[in-house]
Subunit: 231 residues, 2 copies
């Protein structure tokens, strides 16, 4: 498996498109000195609930899940973050400790930037502050929207949602390998594992999708979209 490239200078970082686009060379150097990049293998835990927050975490590459552990050692997945997402939602401003746990669901490279540097940049560089908030607001907004989207639908609509999510927003292809297990899908869209499987099988029988283990191909996009829309 290909190991994502380690970038050594923020200035040349191909993932910089983000909120960091308007930073001066000087500011970038500041960040560069206080950042660490790290590769996390699929399944590796990136951070845990309740541990102190000291870094801003930026996902360069890969795919991670944000989740909470319930009392009865069940997990509840809040969202899946994609490259160029700031992973960790808004907790960095409103909390001293992590609210969610984060685990890589594909090999991922996370860039950790010292939180104080970011806060200082917000204070000293107003344009950055605005760029930055636009971006993290959009992420939080989309999490809220998604949660509502999921919870106002019934099972078939939820499965359609998740298939469309992976196909359109993450892999840009009608054919892709599911990065998460059926159980994790269940934890993400609030249903039982058995019913995830049942609905997937149903879609297969109806020739809407083709399944082979984790490999999925969407055969009838129109119908899938209709199921999603109707809920």
């Amino acid at each position: 498996m290909e190991i994502p490239v380690k970038v050594n200078n923020c200035k040349d970082c191909i993932y910089r498109s983000w909120a960091f686009k308007n930073l001066s060379e000087e500011d970038l150097k500041l960040i560069n000195n206080k950042k660490t990049e790290r590769l996390f293998r699929k399944g590796e835990k990136i951070c845990s609930e309740n541990e102190p927050i000291s870094s801003f975490m930026y996902l360069q590459n890969g795919l991670v899940k944000l989740y909470k552990t319930e009392t009865n050692d069940k997990e509840h997945i809040i969202s899946i973050s994609r490259p160029k997402d700031f992973i960790g939602l808004l907790s960095i401003f409103s909390n001293k400790t992590q609210v969610y746990s984060i685990t890589a669901i594909e090999d991922s490279v996370v860039c950790f930037v010292d939180l104080e540097i970011i806060k200082n940049l917000i204070i000293t560089n107003g344009i950055f502050a605005i760029d930055f908030f636009e971006k993290i607001s959009a992420i939080a907004d989309s999490v809220i929207k998604t949660r509502i989207d999921i919870n106002t639908r019934q099972l078939r609509g939820r499965i359609a949602y998740i298939l469309l999510l992976f196909s359109k927003q993450i892999y840009n292809s009608s054919k892709f390998g599911l990065p998460i297990s059926r159980k994790e899908i269940a934890e993400l869209i609030d249903m039982s594992t058995e019913n995830v499987i049942r609905v997937l099988s149903e879609f297969r029988k109806d020739k809407i999708i083709q399944i082979e283990g984790k490999d999925i191909e969407i055969l009838d996009l129109k119908r899938l979209e209709k199921i999603y829309e109707l809920g």
Copy 2:
């Protein structure tokens, strides 16, 4: 009914505790010149989905609901905002238009501050930027937390949640008048109106609460909290 007092100078605003605490006299004057306060009667609409965002809205007094209108003219309530809340979530940064509609569920005073002024303050006053983001992050974080709280519980737990919310977080009393209808409760916690009523009646029969129309008294807090915890 008492009409909330109109404040004419931000400097003396008793609701200023918020993110505005660290503003200089000068900055406050800036805001003061570009703000409007308005009283909304119970039931009055404050803003609608899709209308352009031009103001930052701060709730001085009262209680408002944030909701989305579904295609089938059903409403889905996202959250209830209390005094000192910034009402409108994060859309001001990530959207050009309102994502949610907002309606007063009690007589409410909303302070509208020109959005450009706020953005300018963020750019020019770093400390304010941090204060401001801490606050709005906390609000968005809590909306996310609440949505999960609600959706991982079943009906009895959801009703317990909403009763505890009103009692502890809004009215600070075991006795209070529900500001919203049974139907609205249903729209807020994703269940049918009939079942809201059924569960409330059940709680009444079990002597956990006392109901008289919209007036509710919590008789057995311990038991209610247990129902909430168990889901």
